[in-house]
Structure formats: structure tokens, C-alpha cells
């Protein structure tokens, strides 16, 4: 990127600029300095003096070409739309199956599985307070549960985003189902959506299950297992979304995410893996806030940094390794409980930023998320928003349509500088693993979260309906709450008990013993043993408990 002053061959440019500055000054009076959420100063006007295009090939290039700033594929959204991947999961495996089939009937091909919070915490249904079961996601503990989730669905043609923190028990259960159905593992496609244990340790604490050193090893084992057995599976999704939701600015979230990806790549290389064997399967996941241009610049800068970094630092030669593939989710933090229908407008602006940022898949939030778990009607509007933007507003006709905007290009350069500064701080702290172990990253995020809230409190940052433009809410608009009926969860608990009684206990014990032993044997691949145990009939909770016993219960480092 270029930071040199630009000499323009435009006669009269300077004189016209001076005249505008003068007239602008007279109209605006005292200038108030503006900065975006990442702290980048935003000027009132951008011109060829800020970005001239003379470094077009080095800084932008063509879509699908180095440095990929304009997009990772030659045809981008004009050729193939992003995947509409809505998060689903509520109640029992049967409930999930019903909702999944409705989505597939409506033409969906990419789905996600969101498990219940009890699953996220590493427990089976019979280990937690039954009041909470299935209220935020599907209760999936056994191979039978997983089979029910995908009953009547061909798992060889479906791409599943599995919200499955390490040790990746849900994928293991899916592979056990594949075995049961005679589907070869190389046909199973999707993503381990919650593989980024560093982001769990730092930000989304509920997914953090196993103490740091064990987590570090299991992730590399998982990447290695996928490289050997699952050519259609993305074992890594590095999640900037957690950092940003926890309070990181957009530039911090991008910088911390890239630093995390560098750490994972280094750990794989230290294990003797070839970068081109695993980098093509790295994916990313970002929050899209309502800071419109800032988000677009964040994504464009991230793509450029990643492309350069994997080539120069890791010597990646396969162009697939250079592609910064990412999923975007509109930010729930920007949504308000006051006048909740306003959230449809917010989600639309956020989604547009993500689309112009060049994402590969998109989740749009439902407008009622601030009230409760989204209702089906609100979820439908969220999907329609994507269809409207694509097919009515024609946002996908032109690739990277904001490329070449003086503002967007200068902002992309400025954001790159901010992002690289964050990455340098992490590097100085000894890399991402060390920087989270010491709490340095946590305090960076905590400071930013507080600074943003101060701006809302002081009114410097307007939030419509909250600190400005307040209005009475029409409470009659609120949808009735839907929660799983207690007797349905009781039946699920009975199914779990029946499953546990009916399985071959010898095989299960052998599988869990082998898993425990492999945790203590560095040369073993722990994840292989996780899959073996699941195939032998072990439950999700039993597998996590075994590894917690051997490797330590995960306790995040929380700072206030």
C-alpha cells in the first residue's frame, strides 16, 4: 500500500482544492474531527490526492489475483452468490430435523447446526438443569441424536456448518452416522465452525472446554485428521466475530484474527505439515457492524494482508492457500430492544457492508434477537433481506463495486495500517498464544468495549431509540415466546437413558480408555480416538469429560 504523497498530472487541481477547502470551511464553521470505531480519522472529502490508482496492480489487482483485495475469485458474487447460511437449532433432534427439511425444501443447500448451550459447555443433557435444555439450540448427545437430526437427508450432498468447539464431538458423531449409513467420509462436507479455541479463551468463553495446552494440541490433531480423511471439510474457522462482539474495534478484531490464524499455521508447520496442505482449508468468520464503510475496508484490507502474509511468511505456493474465505454475521450488538423493527434497517445496512466487503457466506440476524431467541417469522425476514439485496437491489451485478472510490481505497489503506499495528503488538507479546495467556489481548478488548459504551452513554455515538429519537414501543407487536415444552425434554432425557442402557458397553469403555491414553501420548492423534470413541457409541459428554480429566478443565482468563 502506498503512503507517498501523490503528484497529480491534473492541471488546476490544487487551485480548485484550495478553493473548496476555503468554501467548505466557511460553511461548516468549526470543524469537528471524526474518527471511526477503529480510531481512523475520517476526512470530509477524498480525492485523487488520497488515492490515485497508480499502484493499482500492487495494491488491488484483479479479482482472484494477488493481492486479492478485490475478491478471492475471478467472478465473485456475479458468478456465484454467497451462501445463505442461517443459524438453526432449537429443541430436540426431531425439532431440528423438521426445521432443516423446511429450509432444504425452500432451496437451501448449506445449513448449520447450533447445539444447546449444555452441549457447548461439554455436557450431556442429563448433567445440567433440565430447565435450560434446548432453549438456545438443539440437544445432540449421541450418534442416534445426530442420525435423527439428518433423518431423510443425504449427508453426502449437504454442506454443514457445525458449531462444534474442540474436541469436535459433533463432527465425530456425524462421521459415526456416515459410517452407519455407508457414506464414505470423503463425501462429508462442511466446516468446524467453532474451532478457534483462542477466541473462546479470550472472548466467547462458553465454548472454552479444555485447558490451553490441550486445546492447542487437539486443534492441530484435528487439522491433521481432516487433511488425511476429510478432503471436503474445513477444520478451521478463525472467528473474529467473537473478538468484535466482546468489544474489540473492527481493526482490532481483524488484527487479532489474522494473528490467531498465524499462530495456528505456525503450530501446524511445527508439526511438520506443509502449508499448502492445510491453508486452503482455513476459513474465517467476521462480525459486520453497522459502521458501513469501515467494515467494507476491514474485509478488503484483511484479504490483502492474508494473501501477502501466507505467501511471504509461510511460502504458500498454491493459490487456494492465498484465498481469505470468510463468513459474515450481522452484529447483534448494534440491535436495539427499543423499536425492534428498526433492527431490520440496521441488518440491511450491515448485510450490504458484508456483501460489498466480498464475503462467501452470510447470516443476517432476525430483528427480534434482542427480545428472545428469534421467531420463525423474523428469521424469514432476515433471509428475505438477503434476497432483496441480491435480486431487487442488484448489489451483485458488479464485482467489488466500491473499488476505486477515493474514500474506500484510502480507508482500506488506513485500516490496513491499524490492523498491522495490532498484529505487531501481538507479535511483540510473543505471538497470539502467549498474548492471550498473559491477558494482554483481553485487556485490549476490555478497554475498547468500555470506550465504545462511554460514547453511547455520552451521546457521541447515536443509537436510534436508545439515546436519541426515543418513542413509545408498541408492546402488542411482540411475538409470543416459544420454548420447548418440559415433557418434550423429559422424553429426550429418557431417550438418552435408553441409549446409554442399550449400547455395547465393552466397546464404549475400550474407546474411552484409548482416548484417555492417547491424551497422554504426544505421538498419537487424539482426534482419531475421539472419532473412534463416537463410532463405538460414546456420548458427547463422555468424550469431553474424558479429555477434561486428562488435559484439564478449560477456564478462560476473564478480566474486568
Amino acid at each position: 500500500m502506498s503512503q507517498q504523497p501523490i503528484q497529480l498530472p491534473l492541471p488546476g487541481f490544487e487551485a480548485a482544492k484550495v478553493r473548496w477547502q476555503d468554501e467548505y470551511g466557511q460553511q461548516i464553521g468549526a470543524e469537528n474531527s471524526r474518527r471511526n470505531r477503529s480510531g481512523v480519522k475520517v476526512r470530509p472529502l477524498y480525492t485523487p490526492a488520497d488515492w490515485s490508482g497508480e499502484r493499482y496492480l500492487e495494491d488491488l489487482g484483479f479479482p482472484g489475483q494477488v493481492p486479492m483485495t478485490r475478491g478471492i475469485y475471478p467472478s465473485m458474487h456475479r458468478g456465484r452468490s454467497w451462501s445463505q447460511r442461517q443459524l438453526i437449532g432449537l429443541g430436540t433432534p426431531q425439532d431440528y430435523n423438521g426445521r432443516l427439511k423446511r429450509i432444504l425444501d425452500a432451496g437451501g443447500s448449506a445449513v448449520s447446526l447450533i447445539p444447546c448451550n449444555s452441549v457447548y459447555r461439554g455436557f450431556d443433557a442429563d448433567e445440567v438443569d433440565a430447565l435450560l435444555l434446548g432453549t438456545c439450540g438443539a440437544v445432540v448427545n449421541t450418534v442416534d441424536d445426530m442420525d435423527t437430526c439428518f433423518e431423510g437427508v443425504d449427508i453426502a450432498t449437504l454442506s454443514t456448518a457445525m458449531n462444534d468447539p474442540l474436541p469436535f464431538t459433533l463432527l465425530a458423531l456425524l462421521l459415526a452416522v456416515a459410517k452407519r449409513r455407508g457414506v464414505p467420509w470423503n463425501k462429508v462436507t462442511g466446516t468446524s465452525n467453532q474451532s478457534d479455541y483462542i477466541s473462546h479463551f479470550v472472548a466467547n468463553h462458553m465454548f472454552f472446554r479444555i485447558a490451553l495446552p490441550g486445546s492447542r494440541r487437539i486443534l492441530v490433531d484435528h487439522i491433521d485428521f481432516a487433511a488425511r480423511h476429510l478432503p471436503g471439510w474445513n477444520p478451521v474457522s478463525v472467528v473474529g466475530q467473537h473478538m468484535q462482539q466482546a468489544g474489540a474495534t473492527p481493526a482490532e478484531a481483524m488484527g487479532l484474527t489474522l494473528s490467531t490464524a498465524v499462530q495456528y499455521a505456525q503450530d501446524c508447520i511445527a508439526r511438520g505439515m506443509d502449508p499448502d496442505a492445510f491453508l486452503p482449508r482455513f476459513t474465517f468468520f467476521f462480525d459486520i457492524s453497522i459502521s458501513f464503510f469501515e467494515e467494507i475496508a476491514k474485509m478488503r484490507a484483511g484479504r490483502r494482508i492474508w494473501c501477502q502474509l501466507v505467501r511471504e511468511r509461510f511460502g504458500a505456493r498454491d493459490p487456494r492457500s492465498w484465498r481469505f474465505k470468510f463468513h459474515g454475521q450481522t452484529s447483534g450488538v448494534d440491535l436495539t430492544r427499543q423499536q425492534p423493527l428498526n433492527n431490520i434497517a440496521r441488518v440491511t445496512a450491515q448485510a450490504m457492508a458484508g456483501i460489498f466487503g466480498g464475503l462467501q457466506s452470510l447470516h443476517t440476524d432476525a430483528h427480534d434477537e434482542v427480545l428472545s431467541v428469534p421467531t420463525e417469522g423474523a428469521a424469514r425476514i432476515a433471509v428475505s433481506t438477503q434476497n432483496i439485496l441480491r435480486e431487487e437491489a442488484h448489489l451483485t451485478d458488479v464485482i467489488d463495486p466500491l473499488g476505486g472510490s477515493y474514500y474506500v481505497e484510502k480507508l482500506t489503506d488506513d485500516m490496513e495500517e491499524e490492523i498491522r499495528a495490532v498484529m505487531d503488538r501481538v507479535e511483540d507479546a510473543g505471538g497470539m498464544y502467549r498474548a492471550v495467556e498473559s491477558g494482554a489481548v483481553q485487556s485490549m478488548i476490555g478497554t475498547s468495549a468500555l470506550a465504545f459504551q462511554e460514547k453511547v452513554e455520552s451521546g457521541e455515538q447515536t443509537v436510534v431509540g436508545v439515546n436519541a429519537y426515543r418513542a413509545e414501543d408498541d408492546l402488542s407487536m411482540r411475538a409470543a415466546l416459544s420454548r420447548p415444552r418440559p415433557e418434550i425434554m423429559q422424553a429426550q432425557l429418557e431417550r438418552l437413558a435408553r441409549y446409554k442402557r442399550g449400547r455395547p458397553m465393552d466397546a464404549v469403555n475400550t474407546g474411552l480408555d484409548a482416548l484417555a491414553r492417547s491424551a497422554g501420548t504426544e505421538q498419537d492423534n487424539v482426534y482419531e480416538k475421539v472419532v473412534d470413541a463416537a463410532v463405538a457409541g460414546a456420548t458427547h459428554g463422555e468424550i469431553v469429560a474424558t479429555l477434561r480429566e486428562e488435559m484439564g478443565f478449560g477456564q478462560p482468563l476473564v478480566q474486568v
Binding site: 448451550n117 476490555g446 476473564v558 474486568v560
Partner: protein, 140 residues
């Protein structure tokens, strides 16, 4: 906040399974900056552990943050507090709490539910008043 010899003592925590803690961290920092004594814990506390901590730390107010559905456990907490002789301790809940749940929580003895958009000043004033109430109830 009015001058007084002993600042309010507030336990800020989360019950159950969810771990989204941006809200609880920001609120804890606001209360601390307002001069209160804040005791902060990791999420996923057991009810018995919260009661124990409230007793040990001699708190006036417990703030429970709930972004998923963990507030469903709060009626069990208020009951356990009463049984432990801590009926004077005021309990507030903040986060995503649907209307129907809110009325159930208030019936179960929760003093106040803060929804998204609550301001720093509202939260500080409310908790300060509740801490006063808690001390008066303990005296009587």
C-alpha cells in the same frame, strides 16, 4: 451517588450455561468506577456457589447477567438466598429477558430487570437505592 461510609457491595455474575459476558464486564466496570465494591466472577456459577460468595463477601446486591435463558434459574437463587438467611440481599437481572419471563422473575423476588439500552446512570442509581434497601432490611 450519595456520600456514605461504606460503599455498596455488589456481586456481578452469571448462572447456568451461557458465557457472553461483555455486558457484565462493562456494568461491573461502571459500578466500580462509581465507587462501589464490585465482586466479579467467571460465568457458569452454581447457585450454591453464588449464595456462598454472597455470604462471604457480605454483599448488598447481586447482579445476574443473562443473554441466553439462564435467568430461568434465578427464582431458584432467590429461594436459596432466603433459605440461607440472606433474604435482605437484593437481586437484579440484566440482559435479554422476554416480557413473560420478567413478570415471573419479579414475582420470584427479583427487584429489577435491566433491558438492553439501560443507561449507566439508571443502573448506578437503581443499584445504589437497592443497596440502601438491603441494609435497612438487614437492620430491621
Amino acid at each position: 451517588m450519595a456520600e456514605r461510609s461504606e460503599p455498596p457491595r455488589v456481586l456481578v455474575t452469571k448462572l447456568g450455561l451461557d458465557g457472553h459476558d461483555r455486558g457484565s464486564r462493562v456494568v461491573a466496570a461502571f459500578l466500580r468506577d462509581a465507587g462501589m465494591e464490585v465482586i466479579y466472577t467467571n460465568p457458569w456459577q452454581e447457585i450454591a456457589a453464588v449464595v456462598q460468595l454472597a455470604l462471604q463477601e457480605d454483599v448488598d446486591v447481586i447482579g445476574i447477567s443473562s443473554l441466553a435463558t439462564d435467568h430461568l434459574l434465578v427464582p431458584k437463587l432467590t429461594r436459596a438466598l432466603s433459605e440461607a438467611g440472606l433474604g435482605h440481599v437484593r437481586v437484579v437481572v440484566g440482559g435479554i429477558v422476554p416480557d413473560e419471563d420478567e413478570s415471573r422473575l419479579l414475582e420470584a423476588g427479583v427487584s429489577h430487570v435491566f433491558h438492553p439500552g439501560s443507561t449507566r446512570d439508571e443502573i448506578i442509581t437503581e443499584i445504589d437505592g437497592l443497596a440502601r434497601q438491603s441494609r435497612e432490611r438487614r437492620m430491621s
